[in-house]
Structure formats: C-alpha cells, structure tokens
Amino acid sequence: MPGLEDLYREIILDHYRNPRNRGELPVPPAHKVEGFNPLCGDEIVIYLEVSDDNVVNDIKIAGQGCSISQSSASMMSSAVKGKTVDEVRELIRAFKSMMSIHESSLEGEGGEGEDGAVNGSGVKLGDLEALRGVVKFPVRIKCATLAWNTLTQALDEIG
C-alpha cells in the first residue's frame, strides 16, 4: 500500500502552504476560466494573459481546494509563465500522460496512454514530477488534473 510520503512530497506541501501566483488579473486583457471537481467540490479560477505572439505573459490562480489540487495549480502557474502556447500545450500533454498511467490501466486500456508517456514526449516536467505519486491514489488524480483541464479550456477559448 502506498504511503503518505508518496502523495505529499515536500515540494507539494510547500506549494500548498505558499501558493505561487495567487490572485486575480484584470479581465480583459486577461482571460478568466473556472474549473470544478465534482467529486470533492474543489474549485479553481484561472486568469490567463497571453500576448499577441502567443506567450503566457501572466497567470493568476484563485479558488479553493485540497492540497493536491491547490499545489498542482500553483506548480502549473510557475511552470507555464513565459512559455509559448505551444510549449504549454506540450506540457499539459506530458503532465496528463503522467497522470493517466494508472487511470487508464484501471480502466483496462493499459496500452493507450503509453504513446505520449512522460519520457516519450521529451518534455521536462521538473518539479511537477513530484505529483507522480498521485497516480497511486486514483481518487486524487482528478484533484491533480483539475488545474490542467481548466488551463486547456482557457487556451481553447482564447483560440
């Protein structure tokens, strides 16, 4: 049985206690999107400011949730700031692929998620690797991916 230390790495707790990029941005120019985890009631609000040359100029996070959803959002905000939209989409794919390994094997489609697997994509997840342990706690995967799904929605809406 996986233990607490697999889930709550020190860096996760650090982001939970001291969330980065917390706050709001004026809309417009920023774009605002809300995400919602129906399972646990976690809510997240992302303010995203993308420049004309498709670079994430600024991002702020509001909302409430458990340590996993909040730290994942905080780490995400640090990771995407300054990146191009394409790079961000790459990162989202890599992150979600890391999160999906267990979920997909649970649902018996073990083969499918492998394609875009972490190492295959060549994207460096850095600190985000700390969230890898979440896959051992399937119920919490949705907490970890909430911010990322919401970010995808924001990017899709910006177009």
């Binding site: 049985m1 233990g3 607490l4 939970y16 646990c40 009631g41 458990c66 996993i68 919490r140």
Partner: protein, 422 residues
C-alpha cells in the same frame, strides 16, 4: 471501552460493543500496519459473520431460481426469500408482506415510487415538496420527472442549527401532490420529525415519501407510527449485503400504481397483445430477484433484532454525544461540528471542518492511521451549497464503534494537523 450504560436503553439493555466487534471480520484487518477504525457506516456498514455465513449457506445448499421451481431446493430458496421478506415486514411494522418490495438499493426504491407513482399521478403544473437536507437519490429522480412533466419543486429550508425550518411548511404544502423527505440527514445527522411531516402532508392532501436510508439501520422503525405512505431504505447500510434495497408502501397505493420494470416474475399472464401484472409485491419485482441478498438481509435483521433497536439507538446517542464532547474539548475552535447540537436530535453522523484542512487531506492522513472517514459532498450537493460548504469530513458511528474509535479519530486528527503544519 464500552459506552457507559444509561438506564434509558430499555428492556434490551445496552450493547456489548466488544462482543459486537468480534462478530465483524472486517474490523480486524489492518491498514498501513494499524488496526482499522471504521467510521464510515453512513456510506455502508460492515457485515457480521452471521450474514456472511447465511450467504455462503444459501449458495452451497439451496441456490436455485425462485417462485416457479417444483423441486426441493427451488422451493426452499423461495421459502427463504419470502421468509426474509416477512422479517423485513415485522422489522418495520408493516401490515403485510404485500407491502414489502425488494429492489437493488434505496435509490431504485425511490425511483420506483417517484417514477411509478409520479407518472401515474402528476400533471404539468403540479407541485412537489422536498427539503434542503435531501440526498441526490431523493432529488434527481424528481428533477427528471419535473422536466418530463413540468412539475414545480418546492424546498423546505433549514434553520441555522441544521433542522428543517417548518415555519412555512403549510404554505409550501398548499396544493402540493407529494412531500418527499429524509428521515435522517446523512450529512448533518439531523433526525427529522417524520410523523409531524407526514401528517402535514396528509392534511394538505399530499402523499408522503420518506428516504429512510439512514433511519431504518439506526432507529426502531414502525411505519404505522411514522404515518408516511412510502419509505425507502438499503440493506447494505444495515449489516446486510450490497445489491438489496426495500420499498415499503401502503397496499392501496402500491395496488393503484402501474408496474415499473417489465419482465418475468412481475406478470400473471402475457399474450402477444398485452400482459396482466402479478399480485403485490411481485408486481414490482421484475426478473430474477437478488435472492442471496434478500436472504442475507434477513440475517442482518435477525442480528440487529438480537441487539435490539432501542439499544442501538441509545448506543449511538451516547457515542455521538461522547464524540462531540471529546472533539470539542480537545480541539476547541479548531473543529467545527455541523448540524444539531443535541445528540438526541441526531443520528450517529458527525460532519466537521477541522483546522482549515481540506476534507480530502484529512481523510487521506487519517487513512494512514487506519481511520476511515468520508470526505466530500456526501451526495448532497444542494445541501452543501446551502451550507456554503464545498465538502466536509464525516465520521459516522454504528453498533460496533466505541470510545476507543473516538480516541483513534482524535489522535489521527492531531497528526493530520501536525503533518500539514499550516
């Protein structure tokens, strides 16, 4: 470690929790190297050895399809199934087994009456009254029907301490066709005044439907005294197996209702051009019933009857009162217990907020200590919104819990706070 006996437990005396605990195999497993402390009986209860034995006995000795077999084991399976039905009947004080319908869970029971009675009796513009305390099982079927039939749903609000606010009940019931409410909240633990509510419904010309999922396992139940028209509950929350639920309804109402699911068992005759439904209760039991499950539920009821439901109720009042006291003394402002203040007004359910920790994180850390509590919206999202909460942590107690379990909960909460060092 047993709860202090009170003179009020009646003829059945008090519950010997240590002995009860020995009857439940799962309570002796270890989680993360620690003995389990199971505090999630509001979600599902554990099962005593007697129930597991009955299931096993059924499958080993008399497993056969029921109601039509002429051979011995089929007759015996039928006999056991109907005996279990009678056990349910007497456990809830129903007049006749015709009024006891087996379903797969309380949710199906509620859908059966809401869709069955509702489709036959409700027309556009009709009003139905619910309460803010309801579980999704008593909301969503009404919403489905409300869309289909253009019904108006009205809601009984709450008082600040988590009771139903019945100030304007008569107004809400005015012209309503049905009043569908919980007998005990699975989030706040609130025990509602079923008789009073059912009487108000009847006075207003509305039928009453009671979600008794959290009531029947924990309090002495007498459908005559309750005065409602339908009650629904699940076997798995009262020491029985999964896969079995019950709908009790007044015979004349069940009789007037159209069948719900069609198929074998529920018919008297089928021709190419139509069918005639069977007698009650089989009219509502299409297909092969959950045979082993119903028989297992019978064994669960025997077990509960041995303890005595008066004693069960007193045990839970005592234990939840004790828990409220211990947690408040120990954590003061750091813990906030939702729902009624007086343990007499609540079942064995304790929802709380602790130290600004998210319920998911609390539950996760508690698990490391072998303590099982539930975190989330408890299938009562409208209630959570009314309360202004996203989620709660919920400890719920049953016959096999004692003061040691409360102590384990408190200790685990302490280490959760330490762990997150917020």
């Amino acid at each position: 470690m047993a709860v202090t006996p009170t003179p009020a437990t009646g003829a059945c005396g008090r519950i010997d929790v240590a002995a009860v605990k020995r009857d439940f195999p799962l309570l002796h497993v270890h989680v993360h190297g620690r003995p389990i402390t199971y505090l999630d009986s509001a979600a599902t209860s554990q099962k005593p050895q007697a129930v597991l034995d009955r299931l096993d006995w059924y499958y080993r000795n008399i497993n056969a399809n029921v109601h039509r077999g002429v051979y011995s084991i089929a007759e015996e399976a039928t006999n056991q199934l109907e005996t279990a039905r009678d056990r349910v009947r007497s456990f809830i004080g129903a007049k006749s087994t015709a009024e006891v319908v087996f379903t797969k869970n309380a949710t199906e029971s509620l859908n059966l009456v809401i869709q069955g009675w509702g489709r036959a009796n409700l027309s556009p513009g009709d009003a139905v009254v619910l309460t803010h305390l309801e579980h999704h099982a008593n909301i969503v079927p009404w919403q489905i029907l409300a869309t289909e039939r253009e019904l108006e749903l009205r809601w009984v609000p709450l008082t600040a301490d988590g009771h139903l606010d019945t100030t304007h009940l008569d107004q809400l019931l005015d012209g309503a066709k049905a009043f569908s409410f919980t007998a005990m909240s699975n989030v706040l633990g609130t025990v509602t005044p079923v008789r009073e509510l059912a009487d108000a419904a009847r006075a207003a010309g509305a039928i009453s439907i009671v979600d008794a999922c959290q009531y029947v396992p924990h309090l002495p139940t007498d459908v005559q005294a309750m005065g409602a028209d339908f009650i629904a509950f699940s076997g798995h929350k009262m020491c029985g197996p999964t896969g079995i639920g019950v709908l009790w309804g007044r015979e004349e109402l069940l009789d007037a209702m159209p069948p719900f699911l069609g198929g074998g068992e529920m018919i008297r005759d089928v021709r190419l051009d139509g069918f005639t439904p069977n007698d009650l209760p089989w009219k509502f039991e299409a297909g092969t019933p959950p045979i082993a499950e119903a028989i297992g539920l019978g064994a669960a009821i025997e077990y509960l009857e041995t303890l005595g439901m008066v004693a069960v109720r007193q045990h839970e009042i005592d234990l939840v009162g004790h828990a409220m006291q211990v947690l408040t003394e120990r954590f003061g402002e750091r813990i906030q217990i939702h729902g009624p203040v007086n343990p007499q007004d609540r079942g064995g359910v304790l929802s709380f907020a602790f130290d600004n920790l998210h319920p998911h994180d609390i539950s996760q850390v508690l698990d490391q200590h072998g303590v099982c509590v539930r975190a989330g919206h408890h299938c009562a999202k409208p209630l959570m919104r009314v309360l202004g909460l996203q989620a709660t942590a919920r400890a719920s107690f049953y016959i096999y819990n004692d003061e040691a379990d409360v102590e384990a909960l408190a200790a685990a909460l302490e280490s959760a706070a330490d762990f997150f060092m917020l």
